[in-house]
């Protein structure tokens, strides 16, 4: 209920470049939920607001523990996701660094508030630990919810494993708070497959954290009656006239999507770019993100062993979508395979739209409902693309 400044921990504050690229790292064997919480611990977060939903809950439990230890100044469990996401929007106006996380149906419940964050210039970080969207009800890690998040203007990163989850979450705070970005950053990864599974994570020291939030370095000043120019919202709902309404809404939306585009240079700076490419000269390419990228990586390894001409493109940034990078990487490809953990194939649609010859893209393989994605399914598509026989045994 109360901030705990009395528990101020002694930490060395550093900038994001040092933290991500130069700080010493130690190898730990931890779950994805731990990796996300450990990143939050090192991000000098002012305030975190929690609401439980499987499989996210573990993340915000751990964030609560971090608060109790004094790494975060304020934390509470809100009434439900809309209340959570609205409180984040309110707190952002006071000029503080914010974190929350949710999953599937929780994301949808909070969506009304979340999709207004970019327009309200809320530079919060949102963890999305994917889960099936009903019906029928299931708690499994299908990632269809990411399709709902793609069109609100938020930056969206997709972590393949525990290490990505740690690095992306830290980078997310820095990207969100850039004055020429200043919109929320969502860090998505698959529930259970990543959140509840352990992996090796190289982590920075616990007593080293990101520089504190600077409420003055913002394209819109905090509404705290302290930071000039006075931010008095004279016309929150733009209704002076229809013309004004069209115009202001349109230019504002344009600015949000421009901010989204401007995030790309920081994705290069902090994460080495929006895509990772293996075997750039290949005939066949696997393009995937998140856990599907982990499975695609395994299939790519098998393909190397079999001496097949197969390349891998892992997509780190879903928004801004790396249209130019993908187009360039596959300009000589004969076919593209897009394995996914959802039924609609949102990544496949994005890839097709990005390239001039969408016909070379295979729809799938896709598993949904949260099933695991057998490497053999990807292998079958690789063989099909190369005109080879493949005896599929699952």
């Amino acid at each position: 209920m109360s901030p705990n400044p009395e528990k101020k921990l002694e930490k060395t504050l550093v900038d994001i470049n040092y933290l991500l690229k130069e700080a010493p790292r130690e190898k730990h064997f931890i779950t994805g939920a731990q990796a996300m919480a450990e990143a939050v611990k090192r991000a000098s977060v002012d305030m975190a607001i929690a609401y439980p939903i499987t499989p996210q809950s573990e993340v915000m439990h751990l964030v609560g523990d971090i608060y109790a230890q004094g790494h975060i100044k304020e934390y509470y469990r809100a009434e439900e996701e809309l209340g959570t996401m609205s409180a984040i929007a309110g707190a952002a106006r006071a000029g503080v660094r914010l974190f929350t996380a949710t999953s599937g149906p929780g994301l949808l419940r909070g969506l009304e508030a979340i999709v207004s964050w970019p327009g309200h210039r809320v530079p919060a970080v949102l963890g999305i630990l994917t889960r099936v969207i009903n019906a029928p009800l299931s708690i499994q890690p299908d990632n269809i919810e990411m399709a709902y998040m793609m069109h609100c203007g938020a930056v969206m990163l997709h972590a393949e494993n525990q290490q990505d989850t740690f690095d992306f979450t830290l980078a997310a705070f820095a990207i969100a708070e850039k004055v020429d970005v200043y919109i929320p950053v969502a860090v998505a990864t698959e529930g259970f497959f990543v959140t509840h599974a352990k992996g090796y994570v190289e982590m920075t020291p616990e007593d080293m954290a990101l520089n504190e939030f600077d409420p003055v370095a913002a394209p819109v000043p905090a509404m705290d009656n302290e930071t000039p120019p006075a931010r008095i919202q004279r016309d929150a709902p733009v209704q002076k006239s229809n013309f004004m309404s069209y115009l202001i809404h349109a230019v504002w939306q344009q600015e949000i999507w421009d901010s989204n585009k401007r995030a790309m240079k920081y994705i290069y700076e902090y994460l080495g770019g929006p895509i990772e490419v293996k075997n750039p000269e290949s005939e066949v390419f696997l393009i995937a993100s998140g856990c599907a990228a982990a499975q695609a990586r395994e299939a790519w390894r098998y393909a190397q062993e079999a001496g097949l001409s197969v390349g891998l493109i892992k997509v780190r940034a879903i928004r801004p979508f790396p249209i130019d990078e993908i187009r360039d990487a596959v300009k000589n490809a004969k076919s593209i395979i897009v394995p996914e953990h959802n039924i609609i194939g949102w990544l496949c649609k994005e890839v097709k739209a990005a390239i001039p010859n969408g016909g070379i893209v295979t729809e799938g393989p896709r598993v949904y409902g949260g099933m695991t994605l057998p490497v053999e399914l990807i292998m079958k598509e690789i063989h099909n693309s190369l005109g080879l026989e493949y005896d599929l045994k699952l």
Binding site: P5, E74, R93, N225
Partner: protein, 302 residues
């Protein structure tokens, strides 16, 4: 800082809009209630002057009153939601936050906590001002939970007993039997017991009133703000009729407000012992300050 950040540099003044300069020179920022309060509205530059409300709108009058009563306008933030109220509230010279539908109390929870961690030694007043629909229907869960959590800010419900801005639909606060849009046969359940709900949820100060007496209404607004600073959530349930949807002739709006004092809006004030202590202390301090100023004036005259 707050007063300073509103005040323009002397040399810059001539380039600023006249309205703004007048607000700094003749507005209520940094002034007492005698200098710029509800008692002398019309004699100082008010925080809200222009608004697009209908002729005879009782809500517009009450919103003017809220802004004229603020104990600390230079350090106040208001929050609201969709509805008629925000058409005027957003025109006031006080930061106003508009989020989504019915989320004002959830946003205020985040904002209040963030203010307290950033400015532990400062008073920042946070007030949500929303209609009956925003407070008790679509925002119900967020309103109730902010009270249950004991969030320290003031909630004011502008109850016009109807969804005015969307064209006159029945709300949870409409009286039983009222024939309104979406209740074509008459509303079949009664008004929600807002102040009872507020007390059950842990509000430490609640008032139900039809604000016909300016002095009294102003005192209540200030009490709710003073108590919220120190003790916990406070709630004012005010009748602010909709003369359009309820077909009240403009010249009868005040008479209707008076009539409601004997009907659905009989005056009711509740406070916990802790809230009472704060009210008695603050009002005694204010009185002492008034007396001191009076004595100073008398001395100056002599």
């Amino acid at each position: 800082m707050s007063l300073k950040y509103i005040t323009p540099a002397e040399r810059f003044k001539k380039y600023l809009p006249k309205d703004y300069v007048e607000l700094v020179d003749y507005g209520p920022f940094g002034k007492t209630q005698e200098e710029a309060g509800p008692g002398n509205m019309g004699q100082f530059k008010e925080l809200v002057e222009e608004h697009p409300m209908c002729s005879g709108c009782w809500m517009a009058y009450y919103i003017r009153l809220i802004f004229a009563s603020l104990p600390n306008p230079e350090d106040t933030v208001t929050l609201g939601t969709a509805g008629c109220g925000r058409l005027a509230i957003s025109q006031a010279a006080v930061p106003f936050i508009y989020g989504n539908y019915g989320d004002q109390n959830a946003m205020a929870s985040g904002l209040t906590r963030a203010f307290r961690l950033r400015f532990p030694d400062k008073t920042k007043d946070v007030i949500t001002i929303a209609g009956d629909g925003g407070t008790m229907d679509i925002g119900f869960s967020m309103t109730m939970h902010s009270w249950i959590r004991g969030e320290k800010f003031t909630t004011i419900m502008l109850d016009n007993e109807v969804y005015g801005n969307t064209g006159g639909q029945s709300s949870g606060m409409s009286p039983q039997g009222a024939i309104l849009k979406m209740a074509p046969k008459g509303k079949d359940f009664g008004k929600m017991p807002a102040t009872e709900l507020a007390r059950a949820a842990g509000c430490v100060y609640t008032v139900r009133m039809s604000p016909t007496n300016i002095k009294k209404a102003a005192k209540i607004i200030r009490r709710a703000i003073f108590v919220a600073r120190e003790v916990g959530p406070t709630f004012i349930h005010a009748y602010t009729s909709c003369n359009i949807e309820y077909s009240i002739p403009t010249h009868e709006v005040f008479a209707d407000a008076k009539a409601q004092e004997k009907d659905r809006f009989t005056f009711e004030e509740y406070m916990t012992d802790e809230a009472k202590e704060v009210i008695e202390r603050v009002e005694a301090e204010e009185k002492a300050a008034r007396m001191a100023r009076k004595a100073q004036k008398t001395e100056a005259v002599n």
